[in-house]
């Protein structure tokens, strides 16, 4: 079995709704091509036939209300058809089946976080089961984003302060991951040096991308279960390390997206404070108070970042990371990593 290919105009059809969208698209395409050829055809024909010649005068313009009414009203038939079938498919695409698997999606500058029904978390990659409807419950923790998978022909804005939903049912297992784009402009950090897909993935609007993999339902269950177990202990490749927790913390630092705002270089404070000089230091806050950075302070900074705002960092809001997003064990790993950075 080979992977389904797209056409010159459209990406491969990998969801149940895709063929319906494409049929409509191709219908409109051919209507447009024919109309365009007719209009420009007549135009060119008249321009040649009635080109200005010696001794030939233009015919005086007549008037025909009948002709006017015909070309005013006849497009209505086509338009009514387009509207009607476009709307019925749209409703189908908007109402998820009852038995859909619910996946929670959070968009944040410039990453996607997915939470499976069992609590397993994925970031910037998502696996979904073939042949099962998946319902997305989406929200944004900062600005507008838009969830767009061309191969599934779905797109829905991800809005701060409210939930939006979308659903799809994948029809093929993927050999290569599909791309989830952010289709609503969400900016780039100030003074970023590049921002290209290769150098700095998930660093701005154009690289706010996630890889979607479609697997069999059995494999989906297995993987999601595995992901959940793994989220509670350091990964296998940290086993031989002399400080496995710090090793795990370092991995979480990048995989959870902290790297987008925090550097480990003491000289770089963009857009959040560098982690090089936090642990055990006296931290001064915007409101004038201060505290020595210990376990509780770090935990609070992660769960409720706005409780104490580090001096000079009032502009950027760090998103809160709750128990589901960053379980206690992972916070411990990050603390271990921050300790290690001070050594």
């Amino acid at each position: 079995m080979t992977a389904p290919k797209g056409t010159t105009q459209l990406p491969p059809q990998l969801s149940t709704i895709a063929p319906e969208v494409d049929d409509m698209y191709m219908f409109i395409y051919w209507v447009a091509v024919v109309s365009f050829l007719l209009i420009t055809g007549f135009m060119v024909y008249y321009v040649v036939k009635y080109r200005r010649r010696e001794g030939m005068k233009a015919e005086p313009t007549g008037h025909s209300t009948l002709i006017e009414l015909v070309w005013t009203l006849s497009p209505l038939i086509l338009l009514a058809y387009l509207f009607h079938s476009g709307f019925s498919s749209f409703v189908k695409a908007a109402v998820p089946p009852r038995d859909a698997i619910e996946i929670r999606v959070t968009g944040m500058q410039w990453s996607w976080v997915f939470e499976h029904p069992n609590g397993a978390i994925q970031q910037n990659e998502l696996i979904v089961p073939k042949g099962k409807p998946v319902k997305l419950i989406m929200s944004s923790s900062d600005v507008l984003h838009s969830f767009y998978i061309p191969a599934f022909r779905i797109k829905r804005d991800v809005v701060p302060g409210m939930y939006t939903t979308a659903w799809f049912e994948p029809t093929e297992e993927t050999q290569e991951p599909l791309t989830l784009f952010c289709a609503e402009y969400c900016g780039a950090p100030r003074g970023i040096s590049s921002g290209s897909l290769v150098d700095e993935p998930n660093s701005n609007h154009s690289t706010m991308i996630a890889a979607i993999t479609v697997v069999s339902p059995e494999e989906y269950d297995r993987t999601v279960h595995q992901l959940f177990i793994e989220s509670q202990k350091p990964p296998a490749d940290c086993d031989g390390n002399d400080d496995p927790m710090a090793c795990w913390g370092e991995k979480l630092y990048s995989s959870k997206g902290c790297v987008a705002c925090h550097s480990t270089n003491p000289a770089v404070n963009q857009p959040g404070p560098s982690w090089a000089l936090v642990w055990g230091e006296t931290r001064a806050f915007e409101d004038g108070s201060s505290v020595v950075a210990d376990e509780n302070y770090i935990l609070e900074s992660i769960r409720q970042p706005q409780a104490k705002i580090v001096k000079g960092f009032g502009n950027v809001n760090m998103p809160p990371y709750g128990e589901r997003n960053l379980p206690k064990a992972q916070v411990d790993a990050i603390i271990a990593y921050m300790k290690k950075l001070r050594q």
């Binding site: 459209l10 969208v21 080109r51 233009a58 809005v159 100030r190 701005n204």
Partner: protein, 557 residues
């Protein structure tokens, strides 16, 4: 003998006072209340904006030629495309035709001495200048990377320079409103004797419909921008959810203005195309009243369809349904225009001089722009195409393939009347070809990019999109070259162009009935209108070329 006669004729013609030479000081320009001089100043200013915005577009296309970072960062890129959009929309395309060509020709076409409120007209030009300066200051001093749409909450969390930019838009809006008020009053009260509504040139109908839309829609933009300002300056939650606001509300406000703004941009362009087609086919526009009313219909319908920009925003399926249905209706008046233009060509005496090339290009390109609106109005296909390059290509076909092409056509057409000089037809044809080929290469490719799923406003992209991006960029360079050639051609015409005759195209339009360049008061005597501007069957052959002015002078004597 004949050369001597020509020389005297030229010498006497030079002594005839016209609006350019009757006063020459700088002050006489800066404080002029002559609508023709104000129109020229608008043309120079808006054309400069076009060049600046076009330069930004070339920067964007250069960066996108290859995937990865070429020579600017994502942050810089975001600022550059924002400036491209904001400059083109607010500084060029909205004011260019009404402010420039409209100001110059609307009163002449009405046989009037000036607009109804000449001082207000000058005032509105200066408001435009202030707005533009504010915009430039905001751009140079700050960091504006919100896109021209200023979507919240991104824009309210951005730099304070965004506030300056929105204030600039606010100020520019006032300029549009004042021009619109002036046009409406002029059309109602200043028509020459005999110029009935049914004899109004269609350019005037277009400008009139535009003015109505401008007066009704622009205040909404002002209110929106003001609310942004209040939210940002006083932290009152209107649009930002972290302050308790609703970000989608902003989109409703924004598009309630910006969709009608599409008609503010396209209706005057359609008006120009009517004039061009009539003149170069020597034939009255078929279905005159239907064409005139379709402008009004487009203008009014334009207020009911803003939601089609928001089908994926999370608004209810039923609102989407209503907006989709209403949007479909826009095709009707647009189609009426196209069909009537074709019917005008039928049986005409068609000459393919450069302005007519632009008019025919307009028909073809606007047709593509309109037809590609169908999959965007159809709900299910819009979900896939929304916020991709398909939309980018679609609105460039309408805005550039439509409005800019019409604007260029109008500029060529009226250039002899405005400046008294002819331009090189050969250069004009070469430039037209470059513009036409360049434009289509740039944007046809973008339809495919979009339907393949390439989102817009992307600094970087995957390798699969590369060949199309590269082609598109080459198209943009060709288009840029065409525009540069046009500028050179016009400058050359000013420096050493031949003297333009009164009516080089043999048009029956009223604006050709006066001297070239026009008299300071447009006509030596108020013309009495005895036929419509397209009644070629009522004109004799020599009347079309020379008859009018003598006729008017004779009345004066």
């Amino acid at each position: 003998m004949s050369t001597a006669a020509e020389a005297t004729a030229a010498a006497t013609a030079d002594q005839v006072p016209n609006y350019l030479n009757h006063e020459r000081s700088i002050k006489s320009w800066l404080f002029t209340v002559d609508h023709k001089r104000i129109g020229l100043m608008y043309l120079v200013a808006t054309f400069a904006a076009l060049l600046l915005g076009g330069f930004m577009a070339l920067l964007v296309r250069t960066e996108l030629m290859l995937p990865g970072k070429q020579w600017m960062s994502a942050d810089t890129y975001n600022q550059v495309f924002t400036l491209h959009g904001a400059i083109m929309v607010f500084l060029f395309i909205i004011p260019a035709i009404p402010g420039g060509l409209g100001n110059f020709f609307l009163p002449i076409m009405l046989g009037a001495k000036d607009v109804a409120f000449p001082k207000l007209n000058l005032f509105s030009f200066y408001i435009y200048v202030i707005g533009s300066v504010l915009a430039i200051v905001a751009i140079l001093s700050g960091h504006i990377d919100t896109g021209w749409t200023f979507y919240t909450p991104y824009s309210t969390r951005a730099d304070n320079s965004v506030l300056w930019m929105t204030m600039a838009v606010f100020v520019l809006g006032f300029s549009s409103i004042l021009t619109a008020v002036n046009f409406i009053a002029t059309v109602h009260t200043m028509r020459a004797p005999g110029l009935t509504w049914k004899r109004l040139p269609l350019f005037v109908w277009g400008a009139y419909a535009t003015s109505v839309v401008q007066i009704l829609a622009t205040p909404v933009l002002a209110i929106t921008v003001l609310m942004l300002f209040v939210e940002k300056a006083f932290e009152i939650g209107i649009f930002d959810p972290s302050l308790g606001g609703d970000p989608i509300l902003f989109q409703h406000f924004f598009w309630f203005y910006s969709h009608p703004a599409v008609y503010i941009m396209i209706l005057p362009g359609m008006g120009i195309v009517n004039e061009l087609i009539a003149t170069f086919s020597r034939r009255a526009i078929f279905g005159y009243m239907f064409v005139a009313m379709s402008s009004i219909a487009l203008g009014l319908l334009g207020f009911l369809v803003w939601g089609h920009h928001m089908f994926t925003s999370g608004m209810s399926e039923y609102s989407a349904m209503v907006f989709s249905a209403l949007t479909m209706l826009v095709a009707i008046p647009s189609g009426v225009k196209i069909f009537n233009w074709l019917a005008t060509l039928y049986g005409g005496s068609i000459s393919l001089q450069s302005p007519m090339l632009y008019a025919l290009a307009f028909i073809a390109l606007f047709t593509i722009g309109g037809l590609t609106g169908l999959p965007l109005a159809t709900l299910i296909t819009d979900i896939h195409l929304h916020d991709t390059y398909f939309v980018v290509a679609h609105f460039h076909y309408v805005m550039v393939g439509g409005t800019v092409i019409a604007f260029l056509g109008g500029l060529h057409y009226w250039w002899p009347k405005m400046t008294g000089k002819m331009y090189s037809e050969t250069l004009a044809r070469i430039a037209f070809t470059l513009v036409f080929v360049g434009f289509n290469t740039t944007f046809l490719t973008q339809f495919v990019l979009g339907s393949q799923g390439m989102p817009r406003r992307y600094f970087d992209y995957q390798d699969q999109f590369q060949p199309l991006h590269m082609t598109s960029s080459f198209g943009a360079y060709i288009l840029g070259l065409g525009i540069v050639l046009i500028v050179w051609m016009f400058v050359r015409s000013l420096l050493k162009g031949e003297r333009a005759p009164e009516n080089p195209w043999g048009s029956a339009g009223f604006e050709w009935m006066t001297t070239t360049p026009p008299d300071p008061h447009n006509f030596p005597v108020t013309p009495v209108i005895e036929r419509g501007p397209y009644d070629y069957d009522l004109c004799t052959e020599e009347e079309l070329y020379t008859g009018f002015r003598k006729d008017l002078e004779a009345k004066k004597a």
